[in-house]
Amino acid sequence: MADLTSNFCGIKSPNPFWLASAPPTDKEYNVRRAFEAGWGGVVWKTLGVEGPPIVNVNGPRYGAIWGADRRLIGLNNIELITDRPLDVNLREMRQIKKDFPDRALVASVMVPCEEMYWKDIIPQIAETGVDGFELNFGCPHGMSERGMGSAVGQVPEYIEMVTRWCKESTELPVIVKLTPNITNIIYPATAAKNGGADAVSLINTISSIVSVDLESMAPNPTIDGKGTAGGYCGPAVKPIALNMVAQIARTDVTAGLPISGIGGVTTWRDAAEFMALGAGNVQVCTAAMTYGFNIINEMTSGLSSWMDDNGYTSVDQLVGKAVPNVTDWQYLNLNYITKARIDQEKCIGCGRCYAACEDTSHQAITMSEDRVFDVKDDECVACNLCVNTCPVDDCITMVQIQPGQLDERTGQVVSKEYGNWTEHPNNPSKVAAE
């Protein structure tokens, strides 16, 4: 049985699955249920300054997109940070830490961008016994209009400054939660690192409008005829999150900075993918909101079984395992040549590959009168679109043309040498081989 225990920038938990700072972690009641179900840690819903509590909308605060069978694919929300008094949250956090000492309890924090606010609240929260802090520089709605959340996360200088204030206020680990609503994730990640952050977590939600109600002509969710941009999350955002995690893991200036992976983690496999790309642990929200806390059982059992089957004995062995294989386009091997192959036994004759190739690609598939589909090797550029549109598992696959064989499309014999764009004769700025 693989060891799932996790040590993320000094914060220990029995497994690498934490609940992200969000509605599921807003109260002792929820968090207690989560821990009883088996979650390894929680990042408590973002705490704000003491004073009159935050006010939320009283109309709908979530919108969603679904598959045909109502499977939730993406969710957005316009909820703000916790709307409960600070002292209530702190009292409950203290109790939770006392009752579940082996679980990770991290406090998410968002206060105005002034030193006194941060230096006042961090020590107060630390007294509850929390294991660390997560600075919410990501929330893209509501709070950002007040100069907080992603309004901070979009300015690297602010990130660095606030992170430094927090590091000066506590010995506990400080995680900086990054917004994806930027052009290049390396800048905010670098700023967090320069400010002394122990780790970054990403992604926060993506600024979005999920749909428009064409009767009322207003975005969803609609409040009295109006809507606003909300933060998008769930399975749909995972590819964006994976890319940002990988960028931080493989860029020299940020490489080695611990990453807590967030964004559409729904199954053990999603978690394993984030970890392979460099995340030390993962945070989950939408999946728990869609299916309840019991999904943790699938995640832990699945990850553990997969690790057993693949010879991993601890989660750390998996972290970053795929990072060396993420590269720039310019370094991809142009001498690796494949062609589509259609398994006629499996083909059900729908013709989607033909439509895709004939209409939108390279006219490399033939269709006979009796609906037999074949690949024309002299036209196939191996784009993979037919594979991706085929409804049958493994019916169309990409098969490598071995070195020494003829590529009928180019008329060239396939080279066994690795050759990338930087050395290609068509590249005006090619580097001569030394």
């Binding site: 499977r71 053990w268 299916y291 019991n294 059982n297 699945g302 089957d309």
Partner: protein, 438 residues
């Protein structure tokens, strides 16, 4: 020599081998990987799921289906087998239409439940085919438990006891283990000798010895077992059948349906099995349906099930009745048999209609009785309730150190899955009792 389906009397070989092979192939062919993924995708992962509450063994159905969805059939099977060590057989024989699938919220919504039974089979098949036994034994307790009967209850009890570190010896009256999984149940629900394969797989836990051909009362006594073992579990099932108590019952070709099914299950070459041309089955449970359908599939021309109450009251589910009808079995409700006639062998059977006392006669060259199984005579130290062994909620009998589970107990429905649950829970209680935890 082959016989036409209309030839009167009991004959074998009414159908050719090809027809027999088709007729007795898997009732529900297993799902392939893609089908399983699509079927699993329909599960809503309900909270406090109704399907789990409807399962006598409390399998965490949403979890095992989610594990199939995420490509982990082995983890999925473990979830199933944790609760139900005979999850492979139950996936084949459970009346899911009256248990988990009836409770499925998609049954309520669309009349099309998630295919829980087939998904359970998909996951358990992966583990069985890989010959992977995902359980280990706890350190030895140095306790020895005797189990009487190697049917679903006895096997489930034995496995759990062995897993918890106890040594188990099973005493089975027949020549091989499996109980009704092996000798009852329609052949098309358990193909390819699955019952024996499952027993062999179950025994991989270790610490279980089976003594076949050992009958309680003939080869050993209950008091002998209680003297020799720390505890005894009784899972003997129902060894006897009710009789009709009408004239002509001793005529030739009047047979107990359980015997007919048992010989069918044990016959390797179905073309050697005899069946009548006009078969009448009396009864309304699963045994009646299984006997009727299989008679038809063996080549009987005309098969009629006669049940003494209404269609709605029939213990066999509507689904099973529909299945039988689709195979050409006819049903007559609200009539009871009054007389069997014939010269040495049966030729006719007379019935009386409940409502008005009218009588009618059906020609019959083969009569199968399926009006219920009852207990064999039991050792005097066991007290009975409703003519079955009296047990408490922990499946403890009134006698010291003796537990019981399965069809032979006074509680629960007579289903494979219920027997497994009772065997498992009795084993847990036996273990707790022997280890001084209770």
């Amino acid at each position: 020599m082959s016989k036409h389906t209309a030839a009167e009397g009991l004959f074998s070989g009414r159908l050719n081998q090809t027809s027999l092979k088709n007729n007795f192939s898997d009732l529900h062919p297993p799902l392939d990987g893609h089908e399983a993924a699509v079927a699993a995708d329909r599960c809503y992962f309900c909270y406090d799921a109704p399907c789990v509450n409807a399962c006598p063994t409390d399998i965490d159905i949403p979890l095992f289906i989610r594990q199939i969805s995420t490509g982990m059939p082995v983890a999925s099977a473990k979830t199933i087998l944790d609760q139900n060590i005979l999850g492979g057989m139950c996936a084949r024989v459970c009346p899911t239409e009256t248990l988990c699938e009836e409770a499925c919220v998609r049954e309520k919504a669309e009349g099309k439940p998630v295919q829980i039974g087939l998904l359970q089979r998909y996951a358990t098949d992966v583990v069985m085919e890989a010959d992977n036994h995902p359980f280990d034994r706890a350190p030895s307790t140095n306790k020895r438990v005797a189990v009487i009967g190697a049917g679903p209850a006895g096997l489930a009890a034995a496995h759990r006891l062995a897993m918890l570190g106890n040594d188990v010896v099973i005493f089975e009256s027949k020549e091989k283990p499996g109980g009704l999984n092996e000798f009852g149940i329609a052949a098309y629900k358990s193909t390819n000798d699955f019952a024996q394969k499952e027993v062999a797989w179950l025994l991989k836990i270790g610490g279980i010895k089976i003594n076949n051909d050992k009958l309680l009362g003939r080869d050993f006594s209950l008091s002998g077992l209680t003297d020799e073992y720390d505890a005894v579990f009784i899972g003997v099932g129902l060894g006897n059948v009710r009789s009709l108590d009408i004239d002509g019952e001793s005529l030739r070709n009047v047979q107990d349906a359980v015997d007919f099914i048992s010989s069918l299950r044990q016959e390797k070459d179905l073309s050697k099995l005899e069946v009548g041309s006009n078969v009448v089955v009396i009864g309304g449970g699963m045994t009646a349906i299984d006997a009727a359908v299989q008679s038809k599939l063996l080549g009987a021309l005309d098969v009629t099930v006669v049940y003494r109450r209404s269609m709605e009251e029939m213990p066999a589910s509507r689904y099973e009745q529909e299945l039988a009808k689709s195979k050409g079995v006819k049903f007559i409700y609200n009539a009871k048999p009054v007389q069997i006639t014939g010269d040495e062998q049966i030729t006719n059977i007379k019935f009386q209609v409940n409502q008005n006392g009218d009588e009618f006669t059906l020609p019959a060259d083969h009569l199968l009785k399926a009006i219920g199984q009852i207990m064999d005579e039991l050792p005097a130290e066991l007290s009975l309730q409703n003519k079955k062994i009296k047990v408490d909620k922990n499946f403890k009998t009134d006698a010291a150190n003796i537990w019981a589970g399965g069809d032979c107990t006074c509680i629960g429905e007579d289903l494979t899955v219920t027997a497994v649950a009772q065997g498992r829970d009795a084993a847990i209680n036996i273990h707790a009792s022997l280890s001084g935890e209770i």
